[in-house]
Amino acid sequence: MVLTLRSNPLVGILTKQKALPFILVMLVGMLFSKTRFYTPYNLLDMLNSSSILLILAFGVTLTIVAGGCDLSIGGILVVSGILSIKLQPVMGMWPAILCAIVFGLLIGFVNGFLVVHQKTEPFIITLGMGLLLTGVAQQLTDAHPLPSQISDFMMISNGTFYGLPNLVIITLVLFLLSAWLMRYTQFGRNLYAIGGDYEVARYSGINVIRTKWLAFVLSGGTAAFAGFLLSSKLNTGSAIYGDLTALVVNCGVVVGGTSFAGGIGGIPQSALGLLAFGMLDNVMNMLDITSYIQILLKGAVIVAIIWLDSFAQKRKREAI
C-alpha cells in the first residue's frame, strides 16, 4: 500500500507540496458554495489580483533558494511605484519606468553587498532596508497618493491582449523565464548548491559571492518591476501598499515549499504558494468574510500548513 502510493508520481507531488492540497480543498469546497467562484471572470480576476505578489515571489525565491531571504521588497515596491510616476513629468513615461527598475536593481545590489559580501544576517538587513525605503516613500509623497498624469500609463497593467489581462500575460512570461533560469542555467544550479551548502559550493570552484549577490540584485529588480506594474494598475503611487507585502510574499514562498534553510524548492512551488494565498483571498471575499477575520484566517492557514508539513516530515523520518 505504502509502496504503491510512493511510486505514483502524482501522489509524490501531493505529499511534497503543501500548497497544492490546500488549493484542491478550496476548489472542491467552492463546488458546494452558491457563489460566482466558478466563472471565467472571477478565475481570471483571481489570477490578475495575485499577479503582483507572484512576480515579487519569483525574485524572492532566488534569494531564499540561495539560503537568504528578501524582506526589502515591500519598500522597493512602493518606492519604485512612486518613482515611475513622479519622474514622468521630468523625463517621460518609459524612461521613468526604466529608472524605477534600475533603482530596484541598485537596492538589490546594496542588499547583496551587505548580506553576501559583508556576511550579515539577511533577515534583519533586508527588513531594515525595507523600513528605510518605506520612510523614503513617505517622504517622497508626503504620505499622499500620487496619481499619474499620463493616461497610457494605466493601460500597461489594465489593458488586455486577446481577452487576457496584460498582467496575467506578464506574470506568465516572468514565471517561465525565472523557472527556466533556475533549472537550466549554471546560475540557477549554482544557487541551489550555494543554498544547499555554502562551503561545499565554494570548494567546488563556484563563484559563491557573485552568484548569491546576483540573486539579491535580481530580487530587487523584480520587486521594482512589480512596483511599477502596481502603480500602473492603480494609476497611483502610494507609500501604504507595501506594509505587509514583504512578509506575505516570503511566507508564501515558504508555504510553497522553498525552505528558508536553502537549497530546496523553486519557482513553480513559489507560484503555487502565492496562488494559494490569492485563492484564499478570493474565496473569503466570495464568502463575504469580513476583513479582520480574513487576516486572522490567513495567519491560521500559514501556521497550519507549515505545522502539518513538519508533522508529515516527522512521520516520514520516523518511518525509516
Binding site: 537550466y184 542555467t185 549554471q186 546560475f187 544550479r189 549554482n190 541551489y192 548548491a193 544547499g196 551548502d197 562551503e199 561545499v200 559550493a201 565554494r202 570548494y203 567546488s204 570552484g205 563556484i206 563563484n207 537549497g263 530546496i264 518511518a319 525509516i320
Partner: protein, 500 residues
Amino acid sequence: MSASSDSELIISIRDVSKTFPGVRALDKVSIDVRKGSVHGIVGENGAGKSTLMKILSGVYQKDSGTIVFDGEQIEGTTPQQSMKRGLAIIYQELNLVSTMSVGENIFLGRFKEMKGMRGSHAKARELLDSIDCKVDTHKLVSQLSVSLKQMVEIAKALSFKSKLIIMDEPSSSLTAEEMAELTKIIRQLREQGISIIYISHKLDEIFEFCDTVTVMRDGHAIDTRPTLEFTRNDMITKMVGRAIENEYPPRPAKVGGTLMEVRSITTRKLKDVSFTLREGEILGFVGLVGAGRTEIVRAVFGADKARGHSVFIGGKRVPIRNPRDAKRAGFGLIPEDRKLQGLILPFSVETNISMASMDNFSRFGFIRRSLEKGIGERQVKALSVKTPSVRVPVGNLSGGNQQKCIVGRWLEIAPKIFIMDEPTKGIDVGAKYEIYLLMKRIAEDGGAIILISSELPEVLNMSNRVLTIFEGRITGEFDPAVTAVDRIMASALGMKEVPA
C-alpha cells in the same frame, strides 16, 4: 558462547534482529560484555555497529531478541531511561551544547538536583578531576578542542554513575597525543570497574587496549574472541569477508619532471613554506593535527588568504585567489571534512558529481541537458560507486561511496593536481583499498597528488615522497620507502636531533 556466568556480564545481547525497509540491519546478533572489560567492536561501515548501539541506547527499538543489562531485562527503553540506568553512549558527533559552559553541559536538565549552578560546577569539577582533566568548568564548550569535548562527555557519562560507556569511533578526529590521553582514561575507567564498548575502524587501538573483540559484518556478529587470539590479518579478513593481500597497493612507479612549484606561502600559521610537486607523484604531508598541513593546501587552493605566495605550474606563475582560480588552474580538492566541505548531503549523487564541471556541459551559462545527463552514470560506473540510482541523496551512501562521488566530481574536469585531505577518514578497510587504487591510477595517468592523512601508515605506504611539517614550517623531506618511521616521526615532532 562464552563460559562466564550471567552475573559476570554487564550486558548480554541475545539474538537481536532489526529490519529497516529493504535492509536487514541486524540478524540475530549475540554479544556478551563482561563487567569491567573493554570490549571492541570492529566492522566495515554498514556492518550494523551503529544500529546495534542505537538499540542499546533506546534510539531504535529492536524487532526481536533479548537484552539483559546488569541483570535486568530491557524492553522499550528510551535514551533518557538508559542514561539513568547507567548505560551512556558517546557518539562520534558529540552531543554538547556549544554555547553553554562545561559545567552546564554535564548537568544539562539536572540543575535542580545539583542545587543550582554552583552545585553543578562544583560537582563537574570533581568529575573532571577524577579523569585528570584540568579544563575550567566555566569555559564555553565551543572553545574546547574535540578531545576536551570528549572528556566532557565522559564526565557527563560518569555523572550518571554509568556502568557501561559506549564510545562510537572516538578517535576519528584525535591527534596521537590526545589518543594517548584517551587510552589512559579508558584504562583508568576499567580499573574503576566501568565497562566500555569501544567501536573503531583503527585496528591499532583495538589491539592496544581492548580485552575482547567482536567482528561484525553485514548485520551479523561474525566472531567474538579475546584480543590476544586475533591476528591483524585475521581480523581484516573477517571484517571484509575476503582476504585482502595487502592493505596498500604499490606506489606509483613513474615520477616525471616538476609539475608545480610553490614558493614561500606565509599566513598567520605558516612560515615561508615552499615545495615542489612532480608529475605522476604522490606527495605526502606528515605532521600533527594543527601543525599546518591543512593550512598549506588551503592556501594553495585559494581557500584561505595567503601573503606573498606564488604557485608555478609548468614553469608559469598562476595567480590563485580563490577556489575557482584553483579549479581553472587544474586543481581538484578532496576536503578534510567530507560532510561539511565536500558534499551537499540531501542533494542527489548526480548533482553532487556534476557540480564542479558545469562548464563542460553548458554554453554561455545555459545548461545542455543532453550533455549533462550521462555524467552521474559515467562516474558512478567508472568508480564503481555502490548506489541504487544516481538520483538518491548522496547522504544515503556509505562513507567510502560518498568519497568516491567527490573524486568523481573532480575527475570530470580532469585535474592535473589532486589535493586529498584525509581521503579515507571514517572509511572501512575494503573501501580504503579502492580509494588507494584510485589514487594510484590518477598518478599513473600523469596527475599528481598531495596527500594529507592522520594515519601515518597510509601516508608512508602511499607516498613517493613525504614532507614533514611542524609548527607551520616544513622540517624535512624523506623517501618513505627507505627511511625508518621514527626518523620521519621525529622530524614531524620538530626534534632537531633525528635518531639514526
